[in-house]
């Protein structure tokens, strides 16, 4: 390929000429140091290049080396437990090469070329494979099954395949296309980050992403393949919430993107993640995590790319049939990077200086989340008998060794950091337009030591209706009703608080006072959850339903008693209140304790009529809707 040369340098923007074969978004190496850049504009023979590193010292006439490829990531064994920068350079390798500071022009492949992996083929010579077909597996960190797939765009029959120890770039199999050409397959494949990886079919998400955090799971649930947004005001405990999701969510792979974060905080994440243990396997959580760290003082273009790098890696694991959770912290920093680059390109600005395409870029990013039926083996010619038999077998999962009609999902939790906490600014507004779940972290709640500080009034989840059948089937038939009633009581509390502030508690009717009392119990005994207490940090959905039912049952009984002429004061200081407050620390499967508590409540506040009308606290159909099926 011909080497071009620099014509003009203005900040991170370089104009080059002499690149006849240049394509839009192609990666180039700029100047004598070989700085990484990306072509973002072409006019006639001139290409504008966004350079990903500091451009000091670049001068007209210096070389520009084309690579013929867009900005891509390397996908293959060795991704897990890695810490990358926004361009998928492993930070540890950079440190070993250049010391504590990131000097310019460093490069290092995303996947180690030295590491050896034990490849176990799962198809034989002569087998038909196409894009997405799994040809074998590799064990990462002993427990994770890394499935080696045929890269998109290829199909044919396996001409050779070799198991055993291989480097990521060794040829492990060859594939003969129908046109006779032979392609080499390695453990590694590349994919351009700005293009979504293909799948067979997008599906509607219907299953919850269970996090064990009660306010999330019961009040504002997220679906596997869904998208959520979390604003992070100072000191509201965003990091803890993110860690909890990473730790407990029923997903097999976690991708964490630190985009424009503080260096010291990123260090905290990098130090704490290795210490977190995966509750499902007891192994370090890092072994199923990929971290992407691009702090605020690292080059702005790499910050812009980091989000795409992360989601592409997430899609790769999704394509293997895994459930992936991606956390992007923060998308506001990402949007600012876009704004900065757009400003340098002298594009006409939209709202608050952000580029006019801010909304569409944000939407396109979040749209890469979702549940998909992955690409997998499809037989080419259904008219042949063998193929017909196999095609029929495909429809019966498990009937054919080749059949892997697998689904995978990417759930995205994007945090936003609006300037001045102003939720009306463009990044938040454009994000809210696409996300279905909003967890409004409030610093005022954090000051009151209400954790997790997710505001029950300002938050929402639009997945409730879609989740209702799943809840009814897997948790309890009345779960949705319980949740809605509790949410209603909390909303009513807010109205009543206004009145109390103006005219005092005495102005409320006894029933209203009881409702305030119930709201307090929901807040303190249900919503508040201690992430650092072993017996409180995770609640199964069954336990969440039980807790809600107990609190509401207690409230109903008090209301009934008030109707029958009792005084509210009669129910102060009941021993059963303490027991209720401690109920959240009961073990998930301790159904006796929950039934005992239900009985204690019934005894403390008896109903006048026969006591059989109430649903027993433990649903007969109780199945533990537990975390992760494991990997």
């Amino acid at each position: 390929m011909t080497t071009g040369r620099i014509k003009k340098v203005a900040g991170p923007l370089v104009v080059a000429t002499g690149l006849p074969a240049a394509q839009m978004y192609e990666l180039v190496r700029v100047g004598e140091l070989g700085l990484v850049g990306e072509i973002i504009e072409m006019r006639g023979s001139e290409a504008s290049i966004q350079v990903y590193e500091e451009t000091q010292g670049l001068a007209p006439g210096q070389p520009v080396e084309p690579t013929g490829q867009p900005l891509s990531v390397e996908l293959g064994p060795g991704l897990l437990a890695s810490v990358y920068d926004g361009m998928q350079r492993p930070l540890a390798a950079l440190r070993d090469a250049a010391g504590a500071f990131l000097s310019r022009g460093l490069s290092s492949p995303g996947l180690s070329r030295e590491a050896l992996w034990d490849f176990k083929p799962s198809v034989g010579v002569g087998a038909w494979v196409n894009a997405g077909s799994i040809i074998g597996t590799v064990r990462e960190h002993e427990v994770f099954e890394h499935r080696i797939m045929v890269p998109p765009g290829l199909s044919g029959t396996i001409a050779s395949i070799t198991g055993g120890w291989h480097h990521v770039d060794d040829v492990v199999a060859t594939l003969q296309s129908r046109d006779g050409s032979v392609h080499e397959l390695t453990l590694l494949q590349r994919w351009p980050v700005r293009t979504a990886r293909p799948y067979r079919e997008r599906k509607l998400a219907t299953e919850p992403l269970i996090t064990g955090t009660r306010v999330i799971d019961s009040f504002f649930p997220l679906l596997k393949g869904g998208v959520a947004c979390i604003p992070g005001p100072f000191g509201a405990g965003k990091t803890v919430t993110q860690h909890q999701i990473a730790k407990w969510a029923n997903a097999q792979v976690v991708i964490f993107i630190g985009c424009g974060e503080r260096g010291n905080e990123m260090t905290d994440v990098l130090r704490e993640f290795p210490e977190l243990t995966d509750p499902a396997t007891g192994r370090p959580l890092l072994q199923r995590t990929v971290l992407i760290a691009n702090t605020s003082n690292m080059p702005v273009a790499a910050r812009e790319a980091s989000v795409y790098t992360g989601i592409t890696i997430a899609e790769y694991f999704r394509d293997m049939g895994y459930e992936v959770v991606l956390q992007a912290d923060s998308t506001s920093r990402w949007a600012e990077a876009m704004r900065e680059i757009s400003g340098r390109l002298e594009e006409m600005p939209g709202e608050e200086g952000y580029p006019a395409y801010l909304g569409s870029r944000l939407a396109a990013f979040y749209e890469r989340a979702g549940v998909v039926q992955c690409l997998s083996t499809e037989y080419p010619d259904p008219s042949t008998r063998e193929a017909a038999a196999r095609a029929a077998a495909l429809k019966t999962p498990g009937a054919d060794a080749y059949c892997d009609c697998r689904t995978g999902s990417v759930s995205v939790v994007g945090s936003v950091s609006p300037p001045g906490g102003d939720l009306s600014e463009p990044v938040v507004q454009n994000t809210l337009r696409v996300v279905k779940v909003f967890w409004a972290l409030q610093d005022t709640l954090a000051f009151q030591r209400h954790f997790p500080a997710i505001d029950w009034i300002g938050s929402y989840s639009l997945y409730l209706d879609r989740l209702e059948p799943w809840w009814a089937e897997h948790v309890a038939g009345d779960y949705r009703q319980l949740r809605d009633r509790a949410a209603g009581i909390l909303a009513r509390e807010q109205e009543l608080t206004e009145i109390v502030r103006l005219v005092g508690m005495d102005a409320l009717s006894p029933a209203e006072q009881a409702s305030m009392d119930c709201a307090r119990m929901i807040r303190e005994d249900f919503l508040q959850q201690n992430a650092f207490r072993d017996d409180d940090q995770f609640s199964s959905l069954t336990k969440q339903a039980c807790l809600l039912r107990l609190i509401l049952d207690f409230h109903d009984r008090i209301l009934a008693a008030l109707d029958a002429g009792a005084e509210l004061a009669d129910f102060d200081g009941l021993a059963v209140r303490d027991a209720l407050a401690r109920a959240k620390y009961l073990a998930d499967d301790d159904s006796t304790a929950f039934s005992d508590l239900a009985a204690a409540i019934a005894a403390a506040v008896p109903l006048n009529e026969t006591d059989g009308a109430h649903t027993p606290p433990i649903d007969a159909r109780t199945e533990t809707a537990q975390v992760g099926e494991g990997v």
Partner: protein
């Protein structure tokens, strides 16, 4: 070299030789004065130069332009200490140019996030409102958010004077002895008045801290475009002292508002698309490139702690400068006029102030085991006190409940005895915590539920 155009502080120069982006330019005016500039943009035939001292006196046909083949650099040496420089790193104290051991680009390089060491060494500032409630740790960047007319300079000078670290203590009930260690102060004045700058110089002289200090001064009447370089000069010096000489460096720069305004001026003269309030869209990245130079590096003895001072226009925290700063720094210390007008010095507004790294730097071994509890208690009690005060304004003090009256008294005493302290008074962290317990006795006992009882008995003598 032929000057083709002069517009504002920009020169468009016809260049024959190869000129690199961000190269330093020396300009010789017809009257013999010399001025510097940097290359903003190069293409094959022309170079756009930003002149620091302005273009007054430039005659296109009689002005010499020389490209120096390097960017803005600072010659680093241990002899930087004890000296006063101008905003571009030239001696301002009449002394000779120090002999550089190495020349460093003032832009520095980003620290690899995995090479960072987490900051968790408590810095004892001797100021109760900081040590007790919003502690500073080595490697942190903690700005002072102030307003015009508040004593932020005095506070910064007091911190510089008193800052020390505590030895590790094996006894959770005892804080270790204070030691200053191998420390240095790097001070950058950005666009402040001569008086403000001389306050700091005198302050450092009078405590003989000047020998451990390097000062970079760009005063209000110095060219605004030089302000871009001043904090970078200071930080380059700090990085050398910290990471090559292993010193613990405290960098104080004042006033970030002027820095940002200079940046806006430069951006406007470049005709860039403005962002919020006319500040350039890259303000966040630019500020990050300064603030993020704080920290510690694994395997390196030294550290850089930053205390940038910024005056919020009309106390507005949502103004782009404090707002973006808050998103990069690890918390903020906020000064308020309300306390200052009551005569409380330093007038630190405890509740909205925040130190995001405090949890890791306090507690048994580092300070004292009860530190976090005292801090939480004081926060809670003071918040309740301020609520009671609001209530008292509406209802009158007589109408308050006994509890509220107790909180009201606590708030008053907390302000006058805990927050307020003399400019020369240095309180050890033990004194601060003990004072905290003493004040907490004013609060209704039952409301001290956040604290562990053992601590209130051991330290509070309840």
């Amino acid at each position: 070299m032929e000057i083709r155009e002069v517009v504002g502080s920009l020169l468009l120069v016809q260049a024959d030789a190869t000129v690199a982006y961000d190269e330093l330019v020396e300009i010789e005016l017809p009257d013999g004065r010399r001025s510097f500039g940097t290359v903003l943009e190069v293409d094959e035939s022309a170079v756009l130069v930003q002149v620091f001292q302005g273009t007054g006196g430039v005659r296109p046909d009689a002005t010499g332009v020389r490209f120096l083949g390097r960017g803005l650099e600072l010659g680093v040496t241990p002899d930087l200490l004890g000296r006063v420089f101008d905003g571009l790193g030239r001696p301002r104290d009449g002394g000779p140019e120090p002999v550089a051991r190495a020349w460093k680009s003032i832009h520095g390089e980003a620290i690899n996030p995995i090479a960072r060491d987490f900051p968790d060494d408590f810095i004892q500032t001797g100021i109760s409102a900081i040590d007790g409630c919003n502690p500073l740790v080595r490697g942190q960047k903690l700005p002072l958010f102030s307003e015009a007319g508040l004593p932020h300079n005095e506070l910064a000078a007091q911190i510089a004077r008193q800052a020390s670290v505590l030895e590790r203590s094996d006894d959770p009930t005892q804080a270790g002895a204070a030691e200053r260690g191998d420390f240095a102060v790097v001070f950058a004045a950005i666009g402040v008045t001569f008086e403000d700058a001389s306050f700091f110089i005198d302050e450092f002289r009078s405590t003989s801290a000047i020998e451990r200090s390097a000062l970079f001064l760009n005063l209000a009447d110095d060219p605004a475009t030089e302000r871009f370089a001043t904090p970078r000069m200071a930080l380059t010096a700090a990085e050398y002292l910290a990471y090559e000489l292993g010193m613990h460096v405290l960098v104080i720069y004042t006033d970030m508002t002027y820095y940002c305004e200079a940046l806006r001026e430069i951006s406007a003269s470049r005709k860039e698309v403005p962002g919020r309030r006319g500040y350039p869209g890259y303000l966040y990245t630019d500020l990050a490139s300064l603030y993020e130079r704080a920290g510690r590096i694994e395997g390196c003895e030294g550290s850089i702690t930053q205390i940038p001072i910024l005056t919020m226009p009309d106390g507005d925290k949502t103004h782009p400068i404090p707002d973006l700063t808050g998103y990069i720094t690890e918390g903020q210390i906020i000064l308020t006029r309300e306390l200052f007008s009551k005569g409380i010095v330093p007038p630190i507004d405890i509740l909205p102030s925040l130190s995001r790294l405090k949890q890791k730097g306090i507690g048994a071994g580092k300070t004292r085991e009860d530190h976090a509890q005292v801090s939480d208690q004081l926060f809670g009690a003071y918040a309740a006190g301020l609520q009671a005060r609001e209530l008292a304004v509406v209802l009158g003090e007589a109408a308050l409940s006994a509890d509220d009256r107790a909180y009201l008294q606590f708030a008053a005493e907390f302000e006058s005895r805990f927050i307020s302290q003399g400019r020369r008074e240095e309180r050890s962290v033990t004194q601060t915590l003990d004072l905290g317990w003493e004040l907490l006795k004013l609060v209704p006992r039952a409301s001290l539920k956040r604290s562990q009882d053992a601590y209130s008995e051991r330290y509070g003598d309840f």
